[in-house]
């Protein structure tokens, strides 16, 4: 058994590929999707903490909740919500890409990164105009 395993090991060393084997995360699309996944994840986590606290104000009084939520309806926060949705949509689609890499096929990870970007653009085109109209016309 150990000898057989050692042979497998040396045959791996002899591949013609110059790219490091067994990693998606070193360089290019694989790395940048990972970096973006982490940054968007942290941003969403901290928003989630604040968002649960502000929603919990419905248990305090209608006035307290409305006072805080009206600060979410200002133009600056409207732009912040656009950034938040941008982060969530990327994290969601790239998360599905990660699941497909793990359970389906890692071969298409680079293509799938561009599919994620494409779907992100389409989703944001659907969301941003409508949201900004809601923010700036009231």
């Amino acid at each position: 058994m150990p000898q057989q395993a050692a042979e497998t090991h040396t045959s791996q060393q002899k591949t013609a590929s110059r790219r490091p084997a067994g990693t998606l995360y070193r360089g290019r699309e694989g790395m940048w999707s990972w970096v973006l996944h982490r940054i968007t994840g942290v941003a969403i986590f901290f928003f989630l903490l604040v968002h649960i606290l502000d929603t919990a104000l419905v248990r305090v009084s209608p006035e307290a909740y409305n006072a805080v939520i009206s600060s979410y309806q200002t133009p600056i926060m409207g732009l912040g919500e656009t950034a938040l949705v941008a982060a969530i949509v990327f994290h969601a689609f790239n998360g599905i890409r990660i699941i497909l890499i793990d359970f389906w096929n890692a071969k298409y990870q680079r293509l799938m990164f561009y599919v994620v970007i494409g779907l992100w653009v389409v989703t944001m085109l659907g969301f941003v105009p409508r949201h900004l109209i809601n923010v700036f016309s009231h």
Binding site: L48, I52, P62, Y65, I69, G78, V85, I96, I99, N134
Partner: protein, 150 residues
């Protein structure tokens, strides 16, 4: 038990622990399962609150009161609360493990994450299930219309 010495340079193999739950494996599975569910829950949440009608500018106490007295949205919101906080907390734990080099710093940061997750899950769940849409003494124009119906 006799000790067996592996051949030099044999490939690294993870020897599965003989007993106990593999928490890292279940955490890994949890991130993927909860992630798929959260995509549906959060996209639905964002669509209903930001896209339908006048979006963010229509949000107020009466709007939330209408949702939090509907069993469908109560289940939706509580599921989202639990799944998202545990998903986010476990993700932050991964970052702490990656970037905090001191054992003490890791311990403090992970305790803080755990405390935040537990406190907010308890708080959020209590808010959803003890919510009063028509609090006594509140101005009627801030309340949902069904409060004045009776």
């Amino acid at each position: 038990m006799s000790t067996t010495i592996e051949a030099p340079r044999s490939p690294y193999s993870r020897s599965p622990k003989k007993r106990g739950i593999n928490w890292e494996k279940w955490g890994w599975i949890y991130m993927r399962v909860s992630g798929v569910v959260l995509v549906v829950l959060i996209f639905g949440h964002l669509f209903v609150n930001l896209m339908v009608g006048e979006g963010v500018s229509a949000l107020n106490f009466a709007f939330v009161a209408g949702k939090l007295t509907t069993p469908f949205w109560m289940v939706w919101d509580v599921l989202m609360l639990w799944l998202a906080l545990i998903h986010g907390g476990n993700g932050m734990r991964t970052l702490v493990n990656d970037y905090a080099t001191q054992r003490l710093t890791r311990g403090i940061l992970k305790s803080a994450i755990l405390a935040a997750v537990v406190i907010l899950i308890v708080l959020g769940t209590l808010v959803v299930f003890t919510f009063d849409p028509c609090p006594a003494g509140a101005p009627a124009d801030l309340l949902p219309s069904f409060c004045s119906a009776s």
